[in-house]
């Protein structure tokens, strides 16, 4: 049988050139801008940042359905986008958790404050009272619950799939309880007397068309808001009949400011009395809508940027040293095929790295370890094959035949053993979803890709390179393969 490896060789060369082109950093050799969005994505542990697991803490008797959780996730996503973090991760996890990763974000307090706050805005009729700032009130949209972890003694029922509160008085809706943890509220909550007055809610956050930071006539930074048309009508009707009376703006049941109605207002208003940072965050929270359920931080991970950069450098050095040791060992032990396998290993590295960039895989520290480990495992397939080739050579087979037989016989072992590693990778990926999330998933994914690609390079690349070399008579000498002619069995086996 004549084997023509040249076509395959050309295909491998083209593939390798493409992979190396993708691997090149930045925009090098990129006249058409194709590589614009292809970058290495670094995980939290490498570039620093914040990871939070938020768990829904619904008031007593309330069920968190998937719809509610999804709605909350969407709200969180809008808030995260407002923070200006690039490549955030926001996932629901299990039936009551939301995972948020903010790579590169370095202000954990602010992140928690912005994400965790329920941000239910209400404008209430104070029945002529002038409520001081900081008062906690009960409203017709739902009573205030006590601070801290005490369960809410409330008859509130949660309407599924409602992200904002429904303005209809009487009907309670999602998200009216203030956040149950003290850190979410800047000042200690005063609990209203249980039998205290229930103020009527005129407008809620769900009636807002827009909210933004702006300035009032004195140049102070305030939150400006616009109402939707139907709410604007209702607001106009209320304000026009209550001129001269006070009206309070309440966020999460706490009075933010109280003002006297001077004029009938239709669709625009401002919220005064906040610091610059509070203005930006509240505008963002109002715009993104109220959270359907209060959330509590159950897991957090903050990594400063220096730790990660240090780790990258160390890992790269470790990877290079490991790769060199493997290369040295392969060449010394297996000679010519060993050298070929080192070339295959370098191509392997370039393919895997290109895939990491294209998929894209979020690179984490354990992920890099998985990649380096896969370098060691990638040569396993070649070791299996070369051991087989040597055996065949000693049996007295001609070189070309020995190489083909070596590959064919080694294949079942390579396939079966790699599949078992892939099974563990898949289960690891599932496990990672519930633990350090991207950290462990990164490891599982990189190892899986590594094992899959290693099968390709070991079988296709090494084989083709050896076949091409064998077209030159000089490479047919068995000494290239690490054994001396004297070791070959004298009984002539079938020659090709």
């Amino acid at each position: 049988m004549r084997i023509r490896p040249w076509q395959t060789l050309i295909a491998i060369i083209l593939l390798s050139l493409a992979a190396i082109w993708v691997d090149l950093p930045g925009r090098s050799l990129d006249p058409f801008g194709w590589k614009e969005n292809i970058t290495v994505r670094q995980g939290l542990d490498l570039q620093g940042g914040i990871q939070l697991v938020l768990e829904a803490r619904p008031p007593a008797g309330v069920q968190v359905t998937q719809d509610v959780l999804q709605g909350t996730r969407d709200t969180i996503e809008r808030r995260v986008n407002g923070l200006g973090v690039s490549e955030p991760v926001i996932q629901t996890r299990g039936n009551n958790q939301i995972l948020v990763e903010l790579p590169g974000f370095q202000d954990p307090e602010r992140a928690v404050r912005v994400l965790q706050r329920t941000a239910l805005l209400e404008i209430i009729d104070t029945q002529g009272q002038f409520l001081p700032v900081g008062t906690v009130v009960n409203t017709t949209a739902g009573p205030a619950s006590e601070a801290a972890a005490t369960p809410t003694p409330t008859e509130t029922t949660l309407t599924p799939a409602t992200t904002g509160a429904t303005p209809t008085s009487g009907a309670s809706a999602a998200g009216e309880t203030p956040i149950a943890t003290p850190e979410a509220t800047p000042t200690p909550l005063e609990t209203p007397t249980p039998g205290g007055p229930v103020y009527e809610t005129i407008i809620t956050g769900a009636d807002l068309k827009d909210a933004y930071p702006t300035t009032d006539q004195f140049g102070n930074l305030v939150v400006g808001f616009e109402l939707k048309p139907e709410a604007a009508d209702r607001f106009y009707q209320y304000t026009s009949t209550h001129i001269g009376q006070p009206m309070s703006i309440v966020v999460d049941k706490q009075v933010i400011n109280t003002a006297t109605i001077r004029d009938a207002i239709r669709d625009r208003g401002i919220i005064q009395g906040l610091s610059a940072q509070e203005v930006r965050d509240l505008a963002l929270q109002l715009k993104s809508g109220a959270l359907a359920v209060p959330l509590e931080v159950v897991q957090s991970r903050t990594v400063g940027p220096t730790l990660g950069q240090d780790s990258i450098q160390k890992s790269i050095i470790a990877g290079l040293v490991g790769l060199s040791l493997v290369a040295l060992f392969m060449i010394l032990y297996y000679r010519l095929p060993g050298f070929i396998s080192v070339i295959a290993l370098l191509l392997y590295t370039s393919y895997v790295f290109a895939l990491f960039k294209l998929i894209p895989v979020v690179l984490t520290l354990p992920g890099i370890a998985g990649f380096i480990l896969s370098i060691g495992m990638a040569v396993d397939a070649n070791i299996l094959i070369f051991a087989r080739i040597r055996e065949e050579l000693r049996l007295g087979r001609a070189i070309t035949r020995a190489i083909e037989e070596g590959f064919n016989h080694a294949w079942p072992s390579i396939r079966d053993s790699n599949i078992s590693t892939m099974i563990s990778c898949m289960i690891l990926f599932w496990f990672g979803r519930y633990v350090g999330a991207t950290i462990i998933q990164g490891f599982a994914l990189t190892l899986f890709i590594g094992v899959a690609v290693s099968m390709f390079t070991a079988i296709v690349v090494t084989r083709t390179l050896l076949r091409v070399l064998l077209t030159r008579g000089i490479f047919r000498d068995v000494r290239w393969y690490g054994i001396s002619p004297s070791q070959i069995a004298t009984a002539p086996a079938s020659a090709d």
Partner: protein
């Protein structure tokens, strides 16, 4: 034909590997199987005793709590830090110091963005000057239990998945489940070795077991079985061609044939892991250590345990052992 035995040409300067590969040393690996089992037991038993007595030192991933890593602007003593913490109501913190003025504080859950954290940070600033926050990991107590359960499920699922795959891959042999079970026993051997050593390390050196440790364990499981399958595959092939007269000899021949490959593969993996262990970052050092121990153990168990278990079963040695015991204890 048994052609591998055809040449014997001694050469003094040859490496042991090559000698084995050239069959100039014909090793009897299967015959000494009970010695190999004994060696495994000697390694595993101390670890298991430590596991029973001391358990594993679980990290905050499983117990809940916080790990706070700070880089101070001047060197500090753990005692000073503990004092500041206890003045702020935290009595049970574990404080360690590392290079570059780094301080590691393990304590009960400290929520990100909580007033308590602000208070502690302020107190530390007052006492030691400004610092950089390298990381803060916090896990709530209920989440820790959930992760522990997931970890157990993950190990169980991996075991079942691999058992099923081996039974399928070896469906043409006499007893496909025997190979699967032998591979699983070899794998449990490796899990026991790693867990046992980490229990001892936790007791002696305070090494903790975290979510990454579970990751390492699952990887070791995959690798261990990977290695075992290569040997089993040879046995399957040699059984097909009836390469030797008895089952025991076929297994021994298959082991010798794959020995060099097993050692070489482990060597390349050990090279890369050693480089990572010695040169890689501090954060993954224990993770790499677990992988290293597991892979060395995995190589051992696939050569010296897995196939030997198949032989023990096929020879019905356990039956004979029990029969002998029964005879001895039977009233005369």
């Amino acid at each position: 034909m048994f052609a591998g035995m055809a040449f014997r040409r001694p050469k003094s300067q040859l490496h042991l590997h090559l000698l084995i590969e050239r069959k100039e040393i014909m090793l009897d690996l299967v015959g000494k199987r009970y010695y190999w089992f004994l060696l495994s037991i000697l390694v595993i038993v101390p670890g298991m005793i430590s596991l029973v007595v001391h358990g594993l030192r679980l990290s905050i991933d499983f117990t809940g709590g916080s790990l706070w890593e700070l880089q101070m602007s001047r060197p500090v003593q753990p005692g000073e830090v503990r004092q500041v913490l206890s003045q702020n109501g935290i009595d049970d913190a574990i404080v360690q110091t590392a290079d570059n003025n780094v301080v590691l504080i393990r304590m009960r859950e400290l929520k990100e963005g909580s007033p308590q954290k602000d208070q502690l940070a302020q107190a530390l600033r007052t006492a030691f000057g400004d610092f950089t926050e390298l990381r803060l990991e916090s896990v709530g107590p209920t989440l820790g239990t959930a992760i522990r359960n997931r970890a157990i499920i993950a190990v169980a699922l991996t075991t079942i998945g691999i058992l099923a795959y081996i039974a399928w891959a070896f469906r043409n042999t006499n007893n496909p489940f025997l190979y699967g079970i032998a591979a699983i026993i070899a794998m449990l051997h490796d899990v026991a070795v790693v867990v046992g050593i980490f229990s001892i390390l936790g007791w002696l050196r305070g090494v903790e077991v975290d979510a990454l440790f579970v990751t390492a364990l699952l990887t070791v499981i995959g690798f261990s079985v990977h290695d075992t399958i290569v040997v089993f595959d040879r046995i399957r092939e040699n059984l097909g061609r009836r390469a030797a007269p008895t089952f025991e000899q076929i297994v021994n021949y298959s082991l010798v044939q794959t020995l060099v490959r097993s050692l070489n593969t482990s060597l390349t993996v050990v090279f890369t892991l050693l480089a990572l262990y010695l040169l890689g970052g501090e954060t993954i050092r224990n993770f790499v250590l677990a992988l290293l121990i597991g892979i060395v153990s995995g190589t051992y168990s696939s050569i010296f345990n897995a196939s030997q278990i198949v032989v023990v079963w096929e020879n019905r040695e356990l039956h004979r052992l029990f029969a002998r015991l029964r005879r001895q204890h039977a009233p005369a």
